[in-house]
C-alpha cells in the first residue's frame, strides 16, 4: 500500500516539474515582478524626502512619514479623495442598477427590435473614448454641466460593457424561477430585484469592482470637464502636484499610495467574486 502511494506521489511530482510548467512559472514570475516593481517604488518614494527621490534604492535610507502628514493635512487632498469616492460610488451604483435592468430586459423579454437594440448598445464599444470626449464636452458646455459632479459622472452612468456582461449572466438564469415568481403574483420589477438579481451576484460584484476601479482611476475626462480645483478627482489632483513650481514626486507618490488603499480594500474584500465573475464572464461569453 505504502509502495503504491509513494509511486503515485512520485509520478504526480514528476508531472508537476514538466518543462512547460517551469516556463509558465518563470513567465508568471517575470510578469509579477514587472507589475509589482512600480508599486514598490511608489511606496518607497512616498517614504523619502525630496532630496532622496532620485536615489533609486528601494529601501529608503531614512524613511519618513512626513509626506503622509503633509498630504493628509492639505485640505485639497481630502476634498479630492471625497470627490473620487463619491463619484466612483455613485457611478458604480448607477451601473449596477441600470446595466442590470437593461441586461435583464434584453435577456429575458421577447420584443421586436431586441437584437437591434442590443447590437446598437454593443456598437458603442467600438468607439474610442478619445472620439467621444469632444461631443461630451460640447454637450456638457451647452447644458451647463462643466465643473460639476454630474458633468464628471454622466458619460459613465451606464455602460455598454456592463449591459453586455449582465445580459450574458441573466441568460443563464432559468426562466422557471421567473415564471414561478410571476405565478406567485410578483410584478416584473420585483421579480428582477428579488429573484433575478440575487442569482447573478458574482456578475454584479465583478461589474461593481470594474466600474469602481475604472472611475477611481479616471483621469482624462475629469481633467477636461473640471477647471475648479475643488472638483478635481484624486488622480487629477495628484497630477497637479507636478504642475506647480517643481515636480514633487514624493507627494505625488504619497497621494498615489493613499489612493491605492480603497482599491486594494475593494479587491481584498471582493477578490473571490472578481475571479468568479471573470471566469463566468469567460464561460458565458
Amino acid at each position: 500500500m505504502t509502495a503504491t502511494t509513494s509511486t503515485t506521489e512520485l509520478a504526480a511530482n514528476r508531472r508537476d516539474i514538466r518543462p512547460g510548467r517551469i516556463i509558465a512559472w518563470t513567465l508568471l514570475l517575470i510578469g509579477g515582478f514587472i507589475m509589482i516593481t512600480p508599486l514598490l517604488y511608489m511606496f518607497s518614494t512616498s517614504l523619502k524626502t525630496s532630496a532622496q527621490v532620485y536615489d533609486l534604492k528601494l529601501i529608503p535610507v531614512a524613511p519618513t512619514l512626513d509626506n503622509y502628514f503633509k498630504v493628509l493635512n492639505d485640505g485639497r487632498f481630502m476634498q479630492w479623495f471625497f470627490n473620487s469616492t463619491f463619484i466612483a460610488l455613485t457611478v458604480t451604483a448607477s451601473n449596477v442598477f441600470f446595466d442590470s435592468l437593461v441586461g435583464y430586459t434584453l435577456a429575458k423579454f421577447q420584443f421586436r427590435g431586441r437584437y437591434f437594440i442590443f447590437l446598437a448598445i454593443l456598437s458603442t464599444l467600438m468607439i474610442p473614448t478619445e472620439m467621444l470626449v469632444i461631443p461630451w464636452y460640447l454637450m456638457s458646455s451647452q447644458l451647463g454641466w462643466l465643473n460639476s459632479y454630474w458633468g464628471i459622472m454622466f458619460p459613465g452612468m451606464m455602460t455598454a460593457f456592463g449591459t453586455f456582461l449582465m445580459k450574458q449572466f441573466f441568460e443563464g438564469v432559468p426562466n422557471d424561477f421567473l415564471e414561478a415568481a410571476r405565478v406567485d403574483g410578483l410584478n416584473e420589477f420585483t421579480i428582477w430585484w428579488k429573484i433575478a438579481m440575487p442569482m447573478v451576484v458574482p456578475a454584479i460584484s465583478a461589474l461593481a469592482i470594474f466600474t469602481f476601479l475604472g472611475n477611481w482611476t479616471a483621469f482624462f475626462w475629469p481633467l477636461i470637464v473640471t477647471t475648479s480645483k475643488e472638483l478635481y478627482t484624486l488622480p487629477v489632483g495628484i497630477s497637479s502636484f507636478s504642475a506647480e513650481a517643481s515636480i514633487q514626486w514624493e507627494l505625488i507618490m504619497t497621494g498615489a499610495a493613499i489612493g491605492t488603499i480603497p482599491t486594494l480594500l475593494v479587491f481584498l474584500v471582493l477578490q473571490r467574486y472578481i475571479v468568479r465573475g471573470v471566469m463566468l464572464a469567460g464561460l458565458k461569453g
Partner: protein, 356 residues
C-alpha cells in the same frame, strides 16, 4: 377550489399551431393528468392555464369566469415546476413564505401558514436551511409547499418528478396523491410518464400533436383505448401490435392460430393489440383465443415475472412467463392469449374496432 374548462383552446407560435382547439372540463377537486410524448402540447396547455402563455384562440374558464386576459397572479393558481424553481438565496421557510409575498396577511399569520405547511410536508425541521443543503425530494416538497401555502384554487404540476430517481419518484407520487386527498384541491399534472398518469390520476388526458386523443379514468384508458397510440402509450410494457386481416368473419394473423373468437363487424386489414400480460408463455397449444409458436429473441427476468421477446411470423412481440421460468434464447415456445384480451384496430385509421 374551482373547476377549469378549456373551450376550443388554441395556441399558435407564428404560423405553427401547437394546440389545436382542445375542449376539456376539469371538475372541482379532480386530479387530471395530461400525458403524451414530448411536443404533444401538454406543457403548453398547462402554461396557458397558468397564464404563462398567451391564448391564441378559444376560451379558458377558471370557476365560471373567462380568464384569457388575466395575468397569472389574478388567476389564483399555483404551479410546481420540473426544476423545482425554489430560490437558492432564500431559506426553506422564506421559499415557502414567498408564495404569500403579495398576500395581505399579517406577519404572524404568514409565519403560522409557513409552519403549518412545513409540518404537512415534513419540512418543519428544515425551515432555516438553504435549498443547496436539501435532497431532491426535499426540494420538490419545498416547491409544493410554496404552492400550497397560498391556498390556491388549483395546483398545476409541470413534470415535477422528472429530476428524481426512480425510488424517490415512486415515493413522491404517493405523497402528492395523499396530499390531494387531504386538500381536495383541483390538480392539473403534466407528465410523459404513463406510470405517473396511471397511479395518480382521477382522469387522464392523452395528447398527441396538439390534439386530445382520449380522456378517461386510468382503467378506461387501459381497458378501452380508442386508438393505437393510446393503446401503446398506456401500459408498460407497451401493447403488442400485430398486423392481420378479417375476412369472412374470421381473423387471420400470420404465424398464429385463432379459434372461437367473437369478432366486431369489420372486413379488411386490422391491427391486433395484445398486452404483454395477456400474452402468456404456455405449454398448451390450440384452444379458444390466439395461440402461436415463436423463437425466443431475448428475455428480461424481472423477478416476479419474466418478459420474453418472441417473434410471431415476422412480428416481434413481448409475452410474459412466471418469474421462475427463464426460457433459453433461440428456443421455440408456445404463447397464447385468452378470448377477450385482443384489441382490434382499423389498420388505416388506427381507431379501435372493439375487443375480441
Amino acid at each position: 377550489m374551482a373547476s377549469i374548462e378549456l373551450l376550443g383552446l388554441i395556441k399558435e407560435y407564428g404560423k405553427t399551431r401547437a394546440v389545436h382547439g382542445i375542449d376539456l372540463k376539469i371538475e372541482d377537486g379532480e386530479f387530471v393528468v395530461f400525458v403524451g410524448p414530448s411536443g404533444c402540447g401538454k406543457s403548453t396547455t398547462l402554461r396557458m392555464i397558468a397564464g404563462l402563455e398567451d391564448i391564441s384562440g378559444g376560451k379558458l374558464l377558471i370557476g365560471d369566469e373567462v380568464v384569457n386576459q388575466r395575468e397569472p397572479k389574478q388567476r389564483n393558481i399555483a404551479m410546481v415546476f420540473q426544476n423545482y424553481a425554489i430560490y437558492p438565496h432564500m431559506t426553506v421557510g422564506q421559499n415557502i413564505g414567498f408564495g404569500l409575498y403579495t398576500s395581505k396577511l399579517s406577519k404572524a399569520e404568514k409565519q403560522q401558514r409557513i409552519a403549518e405547511t412545513g409540518k404537512i410536508l415534513g419540512l418543519e425541521k428544515l425551515l432555516d436551511r438553504r435549498p443547496a443543503a436539501l435532497s431532491g425530494g426535499q426540494r420538490q416538497r419545498v416547491a409544493i409547499g410554496r404552492a400550497m401555502v397560498r391556498d390556491p384554487v388549483a395546483f398545476l404540476f409541470d413534470e415535477p418528478l422528472s429530476n428524481l430517481d426512480a425510488q424517490l419518484r415512486s415515493q413522491m407520487r404517493m405523497e402528492i396523491k395523499s396530499l390531494h386527498r387531504r386538500l381536495g384541491t383541483t390538480i392539473v399534472y403534466v407528465t410523459h410518464d404513463q406510470v405517473e398518469a396511471m397511479t395518480m390520476a382521477d382522469k387522464i388526458v392523452v395528447m398527441r400533436d396538439g390534439h386530445i386523443l382520449q380522456v378517461g379514468t386510468p382503467t378506461d384508458l387501459y381497458e378501452n383505448p380508442q386508438d393505437v397510440f393510446t393503446a401503446r402509450f398506456i401500459g408498460s410494457p407497451s401493447m403488442n401490435m400485430i398486423g392481420g386481416s378479417v375476412a369472412g368473419g374470421a381473423l387471420h394473423i400470420e404465424g398464429a392460430q385463432i379459434e372461437a373468437l367473437p369478432l366486431p363487424a369489420h372486413q379488411g386489414e386490422v391491427l391486433v393489440g395484445i398486452r404483454p400480460h395477456d400474452l402468456v408463455v404456455t405449454e398448451q397449444t390450440g384452444g379458444a383465443g390466439l395461440s402461436a409458436t415463436g423463437t425466443v429473441e431475448a428475455v428480461e427476468p424481472l423477478g416476479a415475472e419474466t418478459l420474453v421477446h418472441v417473434t410471431v411470423g415476422n412480428t416481434p412481440v413481448i409475452a410474459t412467463a412466471p418469474g421462475r421460468v427463464v426460457p433459453a434464447i433461440g428456443s421455440t415456445l408456445a404463447i397464447r392469449a385468452e378470448p377477450g384480451s385482443l384489441y382490434l384496430f382499423d389498420a388505416k385509421t388506427e381507431t379501435a374496432l372493439g375487443r375480441a
